[in-house]
Symmetry: C2
Subunit: 498 residues, 2 copies
């Protein structure tokens, strides 16, 4: 390659890496986001900026096509930021009450940005000494808040709840089915995974990924509150043991996604201990109740599980993704993988395995995924997490009371946390049958979503199509709930009068 | 819970979510990072800020313990940022020439921060309409740059190369072993995965995770340049077919981590086609050569693979993590998982499966992982990626030439990309045997790393302990290389004179 063209390339790179340009664009970004957050808190914009996929895709394609000279970098940057904001989702709008993804604490995003801009990563301690240390301190601290005994447990952080469940269930598989790591899942007596019938889809997917087979997941009967029935679990395990069926694990939920029901973990732990089965808890959403004096009882017994997961990017209100896996017994921490990688793991420095995170995670290179949580915790203390849980749970209780009080609304359960499933019941004069009511609720949701007035979701509860909300923004208040009721009523009338 | 304490909690939350506080801290962060980047470019700081794990952990613990009043939020924030910078790794220092993690384009970090601060996520289109669209536009565009035919292929983005390889190999397993998704890996004739002998450890781990077993990975012989030998592959597949052994896939490397050797993909594709075997390529590091007219030939033939992966967070110089999986035939895109999740995937909106990313990824909630890449591409055009490849590869060639010219250094291969393995050979007067020379090289590396003068790594090449560099910072220049030589010599003399 001629020196000339390399030199030109070097000049372009110098410009792209210019600290001055970075600073000027960075200031512009922060200023724009400050205004944006303020507008959202005033409910001044749409919640979701709805556009059809093909329309957004075409704009995204066009962005990649245009190229500008370095003279107008700031203008170009501002245009792009504006496009992303205009076409993105506004989780920080108090009328965002949709999926279990939070209006994150804005400060957490700044700490995350510190990691991103300086590209702090992990796998081995050397590559991310501070990222690794922060993560280890948080594992220790959160584990102790949950009630694990200091020094006895281990943990890791990974990119999301699905990956966290997969990692823990892989550990369980390797322990329950000896040699399955090295020799594969080869057993004439097909092994099973026993799970809460409302488990997140990633639990069944884990069985598919791990070579067990999705059909080898046995779903345990739920009680009237959609919690795993411990007696039914006991019967299931008894039968499986009688048939000599290998049991990989029992996977409980705290809580299950659908209505936010918390399994009775103490009872499940009793059953698992009796049968000698690995107990796992998917506490992706609910693990954060450990921070609240009022609500911690919901996960009572979780410290008896062999493994459990908690998503900080759900109910600790930090940006995605920051999922924790905990192993009650730290001896299990290296059962997940058992391998060498000489260029990574320095044989001249034994004892580093415990600080080289890659030994325990599916990721090799991993983001500094806990910078956001570390920053919020260090700035505001543990108190802020209790506040966030208590306030969002209280708002959901208020929603429930309001739903009960109105004859054209039906709550489909009493909320245990910040999840509420309900539906709108139109006046009998319209003569809608059960199926038509489901369809009406679907249409209401879609209309509200596309209008940007509210963002809520839908689900299917025992064949009934319903509305579903999760209060994931602590700034959602009573006025927002009242507005939700009137918006739903207005939308229903518009649909029914067509 | 008493209304009073809820109100107090609400006040603390209001303060934590204050747009004004966000803006003030954000400006302070950007300003600090601008100065930091400038200092690093002047080589004014250490590369790695080395501290023992226990020391860093103790500081990280302490941060979580202290709690301050909201009055001094800015001071507290600045303290924490300072701590993270002082104890972190400086990949943006031009003397960082270590693992395959780049000194990322700083602008990419700003776009990533936009996603983080506003918590843009995906799984379903609704939740991240812009994040989804940007990702899809990039999959299209990069796929076409690589040479895939428009409209015929599919892709996804996931959190890192290990997860990307796992996803692609899961797809291969589901297709190669019918019913393995639903019924598990149950085959009397144990299935195998055939791989490059220098494959990244995640390939063997994938076999362990997927229920095949790590011992079921057959490593194909390498040629004299450490590339998979296509003739040996042919022999391996012929024997396996003769024995009716199910073959999940052939996993080639472009390039393998160790010395950066690119497999002969055209020849491997010929062999795989002849035997009717799924061809996968781990092009985590090398996929980016597609951007360079000079180096694209290295992955010639990759478009014949059934699946391959490319990490934008390696050689497209964006922050971690942003890994692409490509399927040559878009019909394979839903083979990875086959499941329902009614609360996510809206049955009233058929056709959304193609825009609901969660249908194809192990993650359910996923970060807006491509904001950084989208921003850089849209700001600076495709040219910047060609520049980054050409410059870092040219710097590595220069390093190689210098190593050859010096009698006390030995390059252990001619570099094909930006990876160079070499060692220091001390004067014969010291009478060091082969083992002692390996040990000396290890000591040199550790000394340089801990001093913060350079960051490079080590590896083991056919039993020889060596030094290993990857030029992952485009600002690394000839002067840095000359300084590397003198630092190594000085360090060696210090060690040998002890």
């Amino acid at each position: 390659m001629p020196t000339d063209s390399l030199n030109t390339a070097r000049q372009r790179i110098q410009a792209a890496y210019s600290p001055e340009v970075f600073q000027s664009l960075g200031e512009s970004l922060i200023s724009r986001l400050g205004v944006h957050l303020g507008e959202l808190q005033q409910r001044g914009q749409s919640v979701l900026n709805w556009n059809l996929p093909e329309e957004n895709l075409s704009v995204a394609r066009e962005c990649l096509q245009r190229s500008k000279t370095s003279d107008d970098l700031l203008n170009r940057f501002q245009d792009l930021i504006e496009t992303a904001i205009e076409r993105g989702h506004n989780l920080h709008h108090p009328r965002y009450i949709g999926h279990q993804v939070p209006a994150s604490v804005p400060l957490a995003g700044l700490f995350d940005a510190l990691g991103s801009i300086t590209n702090q990563v992990m796998a081995i301690y050397e590559m991310g000494p501070w990222a690794t240390s922060v993560e280890k301190a948080l594992i220790e601290r959160w584990g102790e808040v949950i009630g694990l005994a200091p020094g006895t447990f281990a943990g890791l952080v990974t990119h999301g709840g699905s990956l966290a469940n997969l990692t823990a269930l892989l550990t369980a598989r390797n322990i329950s089915l000896k040699n399955s790591w090295t020799q594969g899942v080869q057993n004439a007596n097909l092994p099973v995974l026993v799970a809460n019938a409302d488990s997140h889809y990633c639990v069944t997917r884990s069985a598919g990924i791990l070579g067990l087979g999705t059909e080898q997941v046995i779903k345990v009967r739920l009680d009237h509150r959609r919690r795993m029935d411990a007696t039914a679990l006991d019967e299931t395990l008894t039968q499986l043991r009688k048939r000599n069926t290998p049991i990989v694990a029992v996977s409980a939920s705290a809580c299950a996604t659908l209505i936010g029901a918390f399994d009775p973990l103490q009872e499940i732990a009793d059953v698992c201990e009796r049968h000698g089965v690995w107990m796992h808890v998917d506490a992706a959403h609910g693990g954060a109740v450990s921070m609240s004096k009022k609500h911690a009882h919901l996960i009572d017994g979780i410290t008896r599980a062999d493994s459990f997961i908690c998503d900080a990017h759900k109910t600790l209100f930090v940006p995605a993704l920051c999922a924790f896996v905990f192993y009650r017994d730290k001896q299990h921490r290296f059962e997940t993988f058992q391998q060498d990688a000489p260029y990574l793991f320095d044989p001249s420095a034994p004892g580093m395995a415990d600080v080289d995170g890659g030994m325990m995670t599916i990721e090799c290179t991993k983001r500094a995924a806990t910078y956001g949580l570390w920053g919020v915790w260090s700035m505001l203390g543990q108190q802020i997490f209790e506040d966030l849980i208590d306030v969002t749970f209280a708002t959901t209780q208020l929603l429930y009371q309001k739903l009960r009080a109105e004859k054209d609304f039906e709550p489909l359960h009493e909320p245990e946390c910040n999840i509420q499933v309900f539906r709108y019941l139109p006046d009998e004069k319209y003569g809608l049958d059960s199926k038509a009511i489901c369809e009406l609720n679907r249409q209401i949701r879609r209309t509200l979503m596309e209008s940007g007035e509210f963002y809520l979701v839908q689900t299917n509860l025992d064949g009934i199509g319903t509305l579903r909300t999760t209060v994931m923004n602590p700034l959602t208040n009573e006025e927002d709930l009242d507005q939700l009721f009137s918006s739903i009523r207005r939308t229903a009338e518009e649909i029914l009068s067509q």
